[in-house]
């Protein structure tokens, strides 16, 4: 059974925008909201050169990385062809307008080297 951590309300994320979630032991996670109010969460690092995806322009179910304009799919975290590469995805739960992320994933995925939590 997953344990969920409340992050924010959906309406605290701008439509076609993102917020950053800081983590103690790993790079930030970006939570996105698209025009249909769907919420997605990806590691805030582009697979290309690590650009902060949370700062990109969101459209459809994609975000354009602010550094070199790679288009990353919000649902799968993968670059649109012909670019190749994927960033880490995080599970999202939205219940009565509140966004939560999986605690285990936050504590285990894409951590800084040497900071893994047992």
């Amino acid at each position: 059974m997953s344990q969920w951590k409340v992050i924010c309300r959906v309406d605290e994320i701008p439509v076609l925008g993102a917020r950053r979630v800081a983590r103690a032991n790993g790079a930030e996670v970006a939570v996105f909201r698209n025009a249909e109010n769907k919420v997605f969460a990806l590691l805030d690092r582009c697979p290309h050169k690590g650009g902060p995806l949370s700062q990109g322009i969101v459209f459809g179910e994609s975000v354009a990385c602010p550094l070199h304009n790679w288009t990353i799919g919000l649902a799968d975290g993968c670059a649109r062809a012909p670019d190749v590469g994927c960033t880490t995805r995080f599970s999202v739960q939205v219940e009565s307008g509140v966004v939560s992320l999986d605690v285990d994933e936050l504590n285990s995925l894409a951590l800084y080297p040497g900071n893994a939590v047992a």
Binding site: P14, R19, G60
Partner: protein
Amino acid sequence: MKKMKLVMVGNGMAGVRTLEELLKIAPELYDVTVFGAEPHPNYNRILLSPVLAGEQTIDEIILNPLSWYAEHGIRLHLGKKVVDVDRRRRVVKAADGSEEEYDRLLLATGSNPFILPVPGKDLAGVIAYRDIADTNTMIEAAAKYRHAVVIGGGLLGLEAANGLMLRGMQVTVVHIMPWLMERQLDDTAGRLLQKSLEDRGLKFLIGAQTQELLGCDDGRVRAVRFKDGTEIPADLVVMAAGIRPNTELAEKIGLHVNRGIVVSDTMQTVTDPRIYSVGECAAHRGIAYGLVAPLFEQGKVCATHLAEFGIGRYTGSQTSTKLKVTGIDLFSAGNFTGGDDCEEIVMSDPFGGVYKKLVIKDDKLVGACLYGDTVDGSWYFKLLREGRKIADIRDKLMFGESNIGDTGHEGNTRAAAMADSDEVCGCNGVNKGTICKAIKDKGLFTLDEVRKHTKASASCGSCTGLVEQLLMFTAGGDYSKAPTKKAMCGCTDASHQEAREAIKADHLLTIDSLYKRLGWRTPNGCASCRPAINYYLISSWPKEAKDDPQSRYINERSHANIQKDGTYSVIPRMWGGETTADELRRIADAVDKYKIPTVKVTGGQRIDLLGVKKEDLVGVWQDIGMPSGHAYAKALRTVKTCVGSEWCRFGTQDSTQMGKDLERALWRMYAPHKVKLAVSGCPRNCAEAGIKDVGVIGVDSGWEIYVAGNGGIKTEVAQFLVKLKTAAEVLEYSGAFLQLYREEGWYLERTCHWVGRVGLDYVKKKILDDHALRKSLWERLQFSLDGEPDPWFEFDKASVDTRQFTPVGAL
């Protein structure tokens, strides 16, 4: 739901490209069946010449291997010729008796070579040059025989002759017209070409009329006899006297045929709406195209109609030509022969092997013929398609676009001469070998495709000409899509101009309403069109349209410049480049307090604080207490000044004050792209006003205004606009010029590109000749800027979402 059935007759480049386009947009709509008369999958017919010349192999020119057909569930009948179609029952019949039903039929039967109707044309060793079988026949003949005769000195004939010669045959080209490639070259260039091919070992019989092909007893050709009775030996005769649309099937089944299968702008045959036709067999508005670019365009349009989108029309193409004989550079487009009502600019250096002719009519470029140096071919072709007036660049026209200056590829302008390891794209570090390999391996045909796959020419664009050349000799033929208008992005067919006009005409105030009005294909655009539309709205309807920060690039949302590590840079405004001890102290204190790693003096006479964390931006702005420098925005950046008459012993005017006045009048001005100004107090021009969007140079009797300069990728020297007496006039004229640019420029177009597009004469007419218009432009700019907030301090008014500066739900 049961799928519809699509049958395609013909398995060549135009037809298969149509299928590819269709599969991209409607992959599940049809069961697709393809009939191909040749036993090969789709290959790049343009590259048969390099195969003949031994530079490539058949395998290398296959575009869609058999696995491609299988992956997409396409039923492929190879080596089957379709002989009939029952249009009533909608059934296609092949020679071997196989039948396929269709709901939609696509005829892409291509063309047939024209065989001279002379005695002996059926002898063994007499062939056309059209497909892989012909190419293989030639390769085999070259190994066994000695004398080859190519009939026809056009593109195809010369490529065949060159290939046969490289394979060791003695080749004579017989050409009935007075010079080679008469449909693509004028007489001078044609003779230069002949000379250069003769130097390589080809022989020519110009003006010779073939009367008969003579055979041996064994039925193989042995000689060619001409009208004047002379004979030359020939073990192989290649007929390359042109092609004819292959309309045999279409005529048989009763479709209207006139120089090809007659189609409408939707690529539908005019006879039967279920039947479409693309490629060399189709006649669109009376023209059957033989080059790949227009055919791909047709394919794209056809695909959208097959997909039942009902959008897109093909309206014809202009074409250009390039000969694929390694080491010979040749380009022509449009009406290069001229005529009574045309003017010509000609540069001829027969010794150096360079010849260029530009044909001008009614102040527009209508044709170009280049030999020996073709680097500017694509630029001329662009000017030709756009139909832009060239009066203002006429004196530079002959020397080409690169004459203005390129950076990032070591001044290389001839792609053919470069080594594989030479860098082509200095921005993304892409070398020639990488680009050529991608073009070959991935089957790329257009500049856009090369940009996507290799990133070459995708950043600053200064190497575009080189990449186009690489495309030409790697992919062959004509690569450019030749659109008369360019769509903004993949979300729409509308051009920037159409979007601007719709916003203006229909008083549109939101991005959504524009998307609805012009039928955008995506729900909320993309990172390319949305910022553009947002700018068009707020510049067209100031105080009415609401700025949408989520449609702006991050720099204009966070009001700072994102750096490679995700931190930001902060550049406060320093009016005219002047600062004070107090400001410098506050900056120094902020640097200490926020541990800002780098402090740098910019080229625009300001101070850049680099490496500021996003969370610290608001604090830094407040502590420094200086206005936003907008160094992150498509907006007025800096007004660079020299010290002027206040201090300088040479100064004739108070340039610093003029600069400050301009900056105070224009700051917070968003524009299609960044805008930089400079004011110098004398013609020594220490503020470098000659490469600014607006450059002001003080002279003893007043101020000279220069516009549309650029110090970037292509150094563009600003052009003289007007000389003025007073500072008030300088403000009015500069402001009016910039407002015209704000209202008419396309997003991401610098002033130099905009003026390049519309012409300086146009700008002069509006700003100098029409006094009422100039005044109203200046007033409109002041109206737009009146009360505009400083985004570093007035967050609400500037729609700055301050939530962005703090992370959520921190662990």
